[in-house]
Amino acid sequence: MRYNINKKGYYGEFGGAYIPEMLYPNVEDLRQKYLKVMAEPEFQKEFKALLKDYVGRPSPLYFAKRLSEKYQTKIYLKREDLNHTGAHKINNTIGQILMAQRLGKKRIIAETGAGQHGVATATVCALMGLECIVYMGEIDMARQAPNVARMKMLGATVIPAVSGSKTLKDATNEAIRDWINNPVDTHYIIGSVVGPHPYPDMVARFQSIVSEEIKWQLHEQEGRENPDYVIACVGGGSNAAGAYYHFLEDTKVKLIAVEAAGKGVNSGESAATSALGKIGIIHGSKTLLMQTTDGQITEPYSISAGLDYPGVGPMHAHLFKSGRAEFIAITDDDAMEAGLELSQLEGIIPAIETAHALAIFKEKTFKPDDIVVVSLSGRGDKDLSTYSDYFNL
């Protein structure tokens, strides 16, 4: 079985480009050019240089000694939280802004949930001097006010999405509508491995730097390239896609995807798409999504604004369906405890999204000589008020 994308833009039965005709010219243009552009030596040179000097890569692969002792296994943390802007999101926005320049685009649009992708997009737009418009659900704007302020300070225009449920999925709808209305000069920087082909593949390739580094860093420290496990949280799935990418076809490396169970998978307030979703179409992609029997997309819930997306990228839908990755759902409470634990054992405050991945160690036992790499996708600064309210700090 093949786990990466095929020539037609599908991962198994998932993927494709289910888009209105109005989007076809833009998406088709991108599809025809993205691989060629990414293969250009000049593009690679510029991309790598920015990742090194601007983002601060390589991000460390850190052996978490006290956490490892506690759970009696060898835990490495891939420190994406140390990137500029505080999460893995910037790997993708750097790549896409360079892509947009080569496609001759002058105006950038993006959607954002928690605001991390919005900030990462506003950052690269400032860097390149391009106009930036970020759509954000009205409810999320209130929940993540510091990130709204950061985007504004970086010169972006933040437009509240007031349709539907006023969260990430509606912000994505609004960004897509903007692209329909501005088909010539605009590039849409999607923040995750979602949307119509070629977005899931393009974003996964930009994020694949994460697993590329894990391989040589692990080799330096352990004398072997492949860990036994790679663990990442999954909302849309971009940090997981990056952490899995170079291990996808090597089934000796076990992949674990951690979704947000919210208040419990069957509580009616959850974002565990693999458990609750059915195959369908969301934002131009055939994938698993949470929906009513009638095919209306439902609103997910998680304490973390970055995981409450009602779908999952088509790569992850395929990894789930094929059994290549194990999917585990972690509740709000367990994630918050894991976030506190990492803070106090290792001195690292993780994003609440990331804390879901760390909660795996209470769910699952690993062998003492297992090498377990956890994608530490983001830092917790943006979540301090949520942590503080939760723990009465």
Binding site: I282, D294, G295
Partner: protein, 254 residues
Amino acid sequence: MNRINKKLQADKKLLSIYFTAGFPSLNDTASIIQDLEKNGVDMIEIGLPFSDPLADGPTIQASSTQALKNGMTTDILFKQLKDIRQTVSIPLIIMGYFNPILQFGVEAFCEKCQEIGMDGLIIPDLPVDVYNEKYKAIFENYGLINVFLITPQTSEKRIQFIDSISSGFIYMVSSASVTGGQSGFGDEQMAYFKRIEAMNLKNPQIIGFGISSSETFKQATKHAKGAIIGSAFITHIKKEGIQGIPNFVNHILS
């Protein structure tokens, strides 16, 4: 012969109206269709509401949200349309996004459409190539015409391809926009209308998006077989209620 094809042969410019089923009230569907026909509308697009209508502007989005709140479902819509052919004879087309149809089952959906006398479907997010490879045979088997969209950005080659697999009309999106985006057509749009007219396609074209008045209807139909009005109609019945239908249609056709 399919009612759409028959209507397209009529020696007149066609007025087609889109409305969202379940709006303003859940059970308005049949009366809206009957009133539209009575007042001289030539064809109707019945909107199956969707939670995330990507190609629609605020007016149709809001009507879809309201329709879903009112309790509209695919099953209920089919029940409401069960006897529609006893009173209505103009072409009826269901317009909806692909996911609800996929969940109902594409073949089951088509079968149901044929059973209640629908003539065609418009599914904006079902791509031409996927339709052609996977679903064309099913649609044809149930006598349904699938209508494709083209836009000012659609290449000539792709328009030729769309024309070759179409068997009714081509839905010509007037400009790069979501529905309800603008008022009045400029030189650029008129040039686009003329350009497509000059292609002499096998399928007639009906223009939609941005038509809201008798003037824009006349402008659009100067170079096309007909025009579709959606958002302006929804705005009107939102304000006037469905008793405002005769007024609206008379105004457009005046």
